[in-house]
Symmetry: C3
Subunit: 345 residues, 3 copies
């Protein structure tokens, strides 16, 4: 393993194409907040397997094309080199490239739409990173979410971009008890939870989920453990609150919880018992936010994507930076004085 | 009165439970931007009276439980002590706790939902306060609004969380003149305006409104006056523009105006004739924003809560900090140079 | 021409009314990101011509009234004088004043609504400019968009504010190929593209479009060229993706592209081949964002206004300020340390 690593590093250092490939592979791993080319390679293999197995090979093709386009766009825009080498400009385009063929008809024009969308995702990554730097918080996968929402909503107005599997725009309705109270067996739950890992990449396949957990373990066992706990907690909370059984079976209540658990419990805070408790509350919040955004987006006929993860993680990252809110009973003038007096963060 | 005050301070200083109770009572008063335990106690009494009288005792139970849970969560998260003692971590959870039983069925699982929601409201308070500190603006009740919107929208996807009195999701329609042109008598208007004060706490009772005005007067007569003017202006503007008479009778066009008038006219700016005019424009704006958000949320079947107050108050607070917009005809590079050269706020 | 300019400057310097008129005329030109009173005068003439010719004279009356009210409100609020003289407090109110009579019934109460709306637009201009100053980005026309959205959505709840030409709230549906595949002739396209320029001011008239291009050329030939390229690119991209032919004919796919091309390609970045390419991608993005927001706003029955221009331009302005995103795999604590250590922008 170490020898492979050393050989790889040598190749990467010598050739621009090696460097570019390394940045792309790390980009694939950055979706799960990792910085490891082997993890990225295994993840891409899992996406390929799952998308071919479920009869949607365009998903893996779109993901790889967008990963390359997005990473290359960052070169053209002369983005920060250190960030680029860590794959930070690849992971959001990759997801945009996986999402479009998942929901739109794979006509020739879609690929133009996808390439432009991948390039724009990189611009959006730069824009949002700059905004969020003010509070020391990462953009996470929000560049993907925002760009893909635009492209999916846009498709409704474009007769030449066909919609395939987006839900029909409708008014929200209360979930029916009959569809929620299904007999949950161990096998059913295990498959749903493993698919929950794979759904991070819009793949509906439990074997892909296993490969992705292995990929994470290659990079960090703590992260792999957090991912498992995330999909278990997310799925069980959703069942406890009464979501539809078929959604559970397809892993749809796992992926946002997986990402939130990994981000809060294993990567962005130093793991500890207190952090685990805090990350648990954040993961439960991600489930509620997912339900809320599902309701909010029902009239528009678009999916939440990973927005619930992003919102929950932001809400649980921001407090740790400063625990004192502005006392809102004070006058603005006084508040200003205080702000001016204090050294700025 | 002073003797009661002194005795209370002695109790508070000696016992942790006294301190905690004090923080909770001040939290109840902070909904109205006050920092006074007696005001908080009277407000809680008014909420209890109104919620029992209207046959929804779960509202006051939820409010008190959430106030305690939210305040305690801030202890666990080691939030800023001075802010905590002023009740700044209690008021938003209190409102979340009043809102959930107002709109959702009071099944056992609701109380778990409510306790988690109260804790999350405190996390959101910390997060939003940190973000808004950049512009020296308080989060107001937005942590309550955001968390409650998530929990109410989420309820549609959860079969085991029942919806009781949320409006059915629907497409917006122009208000009918027939329902707007009702005969407004003095008694009808007075009751509607007093209910407008009580609706700040989701209570539909005019006697509660009177008690709350008394509670405010205990803390500050200027604030009580601003609250009265707020509900009068808000209600009259809404009638003038042609809202439905039953909404006026239930005080629904008063509560956002009350909060905006108190915030802009009496608490966050130093009262003066100019500030009164500015606050008047802000209060009218709050009415228009309430109408706008009512339209925007109709397809989702959730209420505006106090978001109109928050939006109008933010828009009218932000300008006073600096009156020079960036000249958008200048090049970005030049703008950057200017920004860099100036000392930072 | 120069002599007229000198005479004008003399008048402006001597009389307060001259100064005020100058600020208003410059305000009219600032909609197109120019700072030139003659350009403003020609634009107002074009708006007058177009709005009278299309049988909606209330549009030009509303625009002029709101321009005056908004500019005067900035005086009352003691806004930054240099910005005020450049017309930076006039352009957003002008658009609010053009938009309300375009979509709402011109009853007497509308004019009260419009005057209040114009004053509030100036408050919102100050608020948003202050927020966006954090990132050195201008508010563009977003104060107009936000205020007008509030007032248009609000109209649904107000029986005494009538809706005239707003689209009926509806659930979005995929665009039909039949309505998209119309025979595009050169004349049809030219008229649609010229109307695309005029639609920046909600005017549906191609001669107005020509006058506006002349007005821009008076201020800057590069800007006029960018406007032409913008409407051509926007219209052709929209046709290529399959929008409805009647929308193309009414210039509805031109105006956001015009503004984006002017802002990114000619005003806010120094023109160069690289900037032209970047602005082209931004203009294409504006078309997609317009389609997306059209879908998002269909259930609410309100138009996108110039929000697509604002969103696309913000996304393409923000990256140029700093190309390094926060490496999201690092711990928050470390990120904090880095942020603290660096000198603040």
């Amino acid at each position: 393993m170490n020898r492979i690593g050393r050989t790889w590093d040598t190749i990467v250092d010598r050739h621009p194409i090696g460097q570019f490939t390394d940045a792309c592979l790390r980009g694939a791993s950055q979706v799960m907040l990792q910085n490891n080319p082997l993890t990225g390679l295994l993840i891409l293999a899992a996406v390929a397997w799952g998308s071919i197995r479920t009869g949607t090979p365009a998903v893996v093709v779109g993901a790889v094309v967008a990963l390359i386009v997005g990473t290359f766009t960052a070169v053209l825009l002369r983005a920060d080199t250190a960030s680029w080498r860590q794959g930070l400009f690849g992971f959001s385009p990759l997801l945009t490239g996986a999402a479009l063929p998942s929901f739109l008809a794979t006509r020739p024009l879609l690929w133009v739409y996808l390439v432009v969308g991948a390039a724009v995702t990189t611009v959006v990554t730069l824009a949002l990173s700059n905004v969020l730097k003010t509070w020391g918080v990462p953009a996470l996968t929000f560049p993907f979410v925002l760009t893909s929402w635009f492209l999916l909503m846009g498709a409704y107005q474009f007769a030449r971009i066909g919609i395939s599997t987006l839900g029909h725009p409708a008014l929200p309705a209360q979930a029916s008890s009959r569809l929620a109270e299904v007999p949950y067996t161990f096998g059913f739950l295990a498959v749903g939870m493993l698919k929950g890992v794979a759904q991070v990449f819009l793949v509906n396949d439990w074997i892909s989920g296993i490969v992705m957990l292995v990929a994470l373990a290659v990079s960090s066992r703590v992260v792999a453990l957090a991912a498992v706990l995330g999909t278990v907690v997310g799925t069980l909370v959703a069942i406890g609150l009464g979501v539809y059984g078929d959604q559970v079976g397809n892993g749809l209540w796992g992926f946002n919880a997986v990402l939130t658990a990994v981000a809060l419990g294993a990567v962005l805070y130093r793991p500890s018992p207190a952090v685990t408790g805090y990350a648990l509350l954040g993961t439960i919040t991600a489930v509620c936010v997912q339900a809320a955004l599902t309701t909010a987006l029902t009239p528009l006929g678009i999916p939440t994507l990973t927005a619930p993860f992003v919102v929950a993680t932001w809400l649980f990252l921001l407090p740790k930076r400063d625990f004192a809110p502005i006392p809102h009973h004070e006058r603005v003038e006084e508040a200003t004085a205080v702000t001016t007096a204090r050294p700025k963060r």
